[in-house]
């Protein structure tokens, strides 16, 4: 029996678009339109998609930074939207923490590192300052930052170091799950490997689950157990990392993989197989009818512009495409 930690069922988030003096709602931005997936304890699930696909919105929903329009999010079996704020503080917040993309803006520039990393402890526990600071030293050591960093300010550290500090902060309350929003995309190439290795080591040590939002497929392959591909607010494919990369089913997945591969110019066979999509992702204000991807799909059929495809199981993967029905 897989140990499911987080389960997201059919979540929908629509943002109203208002206009006019009386602020009438004239339309809806359908940021997420029915997304479901689950994350097991100790495993990494990556949410992949391009900008506008809705992946950051999913993260916000899980972190309760904004509220769902409809759908359910279950953590350890409990519906987090039914929690009162006291219950949230006790049962949810300490267990689910986040690491953000931008190491320059995710820390208060006016606070010292010991207060930044210690803040979760000050807010959620009764620890005396001295004890909290000792814990901070331990946490920093775990991510490879020495104790002299305690009294320094964020601007005195490099991007990679700041990201490590962000990880230390996220671990302060011993969470079960981390939501990582593009944790390495703002970092230098040679630093990314350091952070990714650190995250993997911590996962093994503490049996942490990760939900990683990323757009770089190579990073995703390296870090994930399961992968969910999003397009225009919906999941189009979901499966184990190896299965998905070896046998991508959805045309969009194939295009993404093709765009991310290392094809050398002399490799004419590889060049010929490249899938280059036309156009750009449509606006979530007005998604195309039928299958949302059909406007750019190289394999679109007649049915694709009319009927909305269902999410179907093909082997161990799930796909939302008419070619598999």
């Amino acid at each position: 029996m897989p140990d499911v930690l987080l389960e997201v069922r059919d979540i929908v988030k629509h943002y109203p678009v208002t206009r006019g003096l009386l602020q009438r709602t004239v339309g809806w931005v359908r940021a997420i339109d029915g997304v479901s997936f689950s994350v097991e304890r100790g495993k990494t699930m990556s949410l992949v998609g391009e900008s506008g696909a809705g992946k950051t919105t999913v993260a916000k929903m899980i972190l309760l930074l904004e509220r769902l329009t409809s759908g359910t999010i279950l953590f350890e079996g409990e519906d987090i939207y039914k929690y009162s704020s006291a219950e949230l503080k006790k049962n949810y917040r300490p267990k689910v923490q986040s690491v953000q993309q931008n190491p320059w803006s995710s820390m208060n520039p006016r606070m010292r590192i010991r207060d930044i990393v210690g803040e979760p402890l000050f807010v959620n526990t009764d620890l005396a300052k001295k004890d909290a600071y000792s814990k901070v030293i331990e946490l920093l050591e775990q991510v490879g930052i020495g104790p002299e960093g305690m009294t320094r300010y964020p601007h005195e550290f490099s991007g990679g170091q700041r990201q490590r500090i962000a990880v230390a902060r996220a671990l302060a309350l011993h969470p079960n799950m981390l939501i990582l929003d593009e944790p390495v995309s703002a970092l230098d190439v040679s630093i990314r490997a350091q952070i990714m290795n650190l995250l993997k080591d911590l996962q093994n040590q503490y049996n942490l689950s990760y939900v990683v939002i990323a757009h770089n497929l190579a990073t995703v392959r390296y870090m994930s157990h399961t992968v969910a591909i999003m397009y225009l607010g919906q999941l189009v494919e979901f499966g184990e990392s190896e299965d998905l990369f070896e046998r991508p089913l959805h045309p969009y997945t194939r295009a993404l993989i093709s765009a991310s591969q290392l094809t050398l110019p002399e490799d004419s066979e590889g060049q010929a197989k490249q899938i280059i999509l036309t156009g750009e992702m449509p606006s979530p204000l007005n998604p195309p009818p039928g299958c949302r991807f059909h406007t750019r799909c190289t394999e679109a059929g007649e049915r694709c512009s009319r009927d909305v495809p269902e999410m179907r199981k093909v082997g161990k993967q799930q796909v939302k495409c008419h070619h598999y029905s």
């Binding site: 930074l65 953000q100 803006s105 995710s106 208060n108 979760p120 807010v123």
Partner: protein, 309 residues
């Protein structure tokens, strides 16, 4: 075929090394001179006499500012013909020493302004942060009140207050504060909104921080820079406003010497006993200019900027 051309001669002019030394010296003067003037004014205000230490007759003011010596009326400054050495800047129509009155005037004008600045800063910042954080209708309400305060005519309010509760020190403070907080509220609210949407505030929410914590430990420390700049730039404005009120007779009244009222006293004598208005007028000008220069300098320093280039 590439032509072999001689390498450029690198001209090592002094200007080459980034910002020149001369420029740096001038930039520092922009701070030193105004700061010195303000410091001088503050010293004058504090040490006019030591009555706050219990020694009313000790201080830098050579005479009692209110001592009327009718035999010494309209004396010109000591460096002019007819002046007396003990009245360095001359006397007014009651024989009162101008220098002493200017020194005590510093105390009055500066204290009114500083008290008003702190009150307006406190109220304006608190409302601005709240409005920026809470948003929604509450923010709308506060901003509409701000708009009203900003458009209300200041002089009219001051006159109404003078009629209602009588002119004087606290009336002026009240008049300056009643409308002055609005400017702060508007600027701070913009900053607070921006910071409220930043990543580290979102992170604090994820950690479970209370609104109070977010406002006091995250938003406030990040608006302090803006606040300091505004406050420094307000010094000049407040002094001018107080001087205007005192000049018009609805501010600080006799016998207290305020620079503004001193200017008013001498206005009929500008061609004969010009020193009565001129010296306090110069002080007003100096303080306002220094306050503005200092404010500009502080703003340049505190605004995020590439410090090295």
């Amino acid at each position: 075929m590439i032509n072999i051309l001689p390498t450029i001669n690198v001209k090592k002019k002094k200007q080459y090394r980034g910002i020149t030394r001369a420029t740096r010296i001038v930039r520092n003067l922009a701070f030193i001179i105004p700061a010195a003037i303000m410091a001088l004014m503050v010293i004058m205000a504090i040490f006019a006499d030591l009555s706050w230490m219990g020694l009313p007759n000790v201080g830098i003011a050579p005479h009692d500012p209110n001592a009327q010596v009718m035999t010494n009326r309209y004396l010109p400054p000591s460096f002019m013909e007819g002046g007396k050495s003990e009245y360095l800047l001359g006397t007014d129509k009651f024989g009162r020493d101008i220098l002493s009155r200017v020194i005590f005037g510093a105390r009055v004008s500066l204290s009114v302004s500083l008290i008003a600045i702190f009150i307006t800063a406190f109220v304006g910042t608190a409302l601005g942060i709240l409005a920026g954080y809470v948003g929604g209708r509450f923010e709308g309400l506060i901003m509409r009140i701000v708009d009203m305060a900003l458009s209300f005519p200041f002089l009219l309010l001051a006159m109404l207050l003078a009629v209602a509760i009588g002119p004087g020190f606290w009336t002026v403070v009240f008049a300056l504060s009643a409308l002055g907080w609005a400017g702060y509220a508007r600027m701070i609210r913009g900053e607070a909104m921006r910071i409220n949407q930043s990543d580290f505030v979102a992170q604090a929410r994820v950690i479970g921080a209370t609104p109070w914590r977010i406002m006091s430990r995250h938003i406030f420390p990040n608006i302090v820079n803006t606040l300091i700049v505004i406050m420094t730039l307000q010094v000049g404005m407040m002094i001018l406003a107080e001087s205007a009120l005192s000049y018009l007779g609805i501010g600080i009244t006799a016998p207290q010497a305020s620079w503004g009222s001193m200017v008013a006293d001498g206005r009929s004598y500008l061609d004969t006993a010009w020193w009565i208005s001129t010296f306090p007028g110069i002080c007003i000008g100096l303080v306002v200019l220094s306050g503005n220069f200092l404010g500009d300098w502080i703003r340049d320093k505190l605004d995020p900027r590439l410090r090295q280039l």
